[in-house]
């Protein structure tokens, strides 16, 4: 799937903010606000406009990071399903297929 298509689907639901955990001077305080414990990197969270955490990449087996195996894909899909207001089932299927294809490269 083309990069722009993925970007479009993500933008349909999210405003993406990337924070350099090691270099941003206030990264630690922001991480503490949203994490219940120290997590490895990368770590993701979906946060609603009222600043509440809707879902995080911390799954039953820990932080899934870059999802790369079945249980991690499943957790990321759960995150999307939990958070979505605009993404359709078909959109999520496309994103998941893209993610699985990318992680197999």
């Amino acid at each position: 799937m083309a990069t722009k298509d993925v970007e479009g689907l993500i933008a349909k639901e999210f405003v993406v903010l990337k924070i350099d955990r090691d270099r941003a001077p206030d990264a630690e305080s922001i991480a503490k606000k949203y994490q219940t414990k120290e997590e490895g990197l990368p770590w993701m969270a979906f946060i609603d406009a009222a600043d509440k955490v809707v879902a995080t990449s911390t799954g039953p087996e820990g932080n899934v990071g870059f999802p790369a195996k079945a249980s991690e894909y499943a957790h990321f899909k759960t995150m999307l399903e939990k958070a979505r207001k605009h993404l359709t089932d078909a959109d999520i299927a496309v994103l998941m297929a893209s993610l699985e294809a990318a992680s197999k490269k």
Binding site: I10, V15, K18, D20, D51, A102
Partner: protein, 203 residues
Amino acid sequence: MILTALPFILAMGGQAVPPPQAAPPPAAAVVQKPAAAPRKLYNETADAKVAITAAVAAAAEDGIRVLVNWGGNDCPRCASIGLAQRDPGFGVKLSDEYKVVYVDVGNADRNGEVAQAFGVKLTADGLPHFTILDAKGAAIAQVAGKDFAAEADPAKLDGKKLGAFLKQHQAPPPPPAQPQLTAALEQAKRQDKQVFLWFTAPW
């Protein structure tokens, strides 16, 4: 930095790096595997232009710079880079501050045109040569490794000198993220969206 991309889908793969933990206890028995052939520091078949272009794109994404290490696999001082980085005086977390590209120039007789495009004049006795590129791919600093040769052994790099050079030319740290987070939340509210917060690191 507010992005419209989902970078992990686009370019990367692999597992999350766990938070620091205590070292595990030694195993009761260790199965000895046959030693693999050592990986060469400089890939002799890589396309240098492609590798540098990719590093510049990745550095721009992460707000850091590129360190191009021009050298050869038969050059003792080139091979000492790992030792130099372990010098207590090195003082730079290289993978946090630079995307590093090792370009094979043999005995200063390969990839000369690519080097020249970055203003590098290679000489066999100067290797490795270091070039620092900014996020647009422009060369902002150069030094021949011979200028950083260790006094005690010129076939090795002086980790302290090299570290000081890298520290001097590393990108400034990113600005505080809180204002960007506030802006992202406001945008999410206006557009009935959510914030996809992604904690990562240049490495």
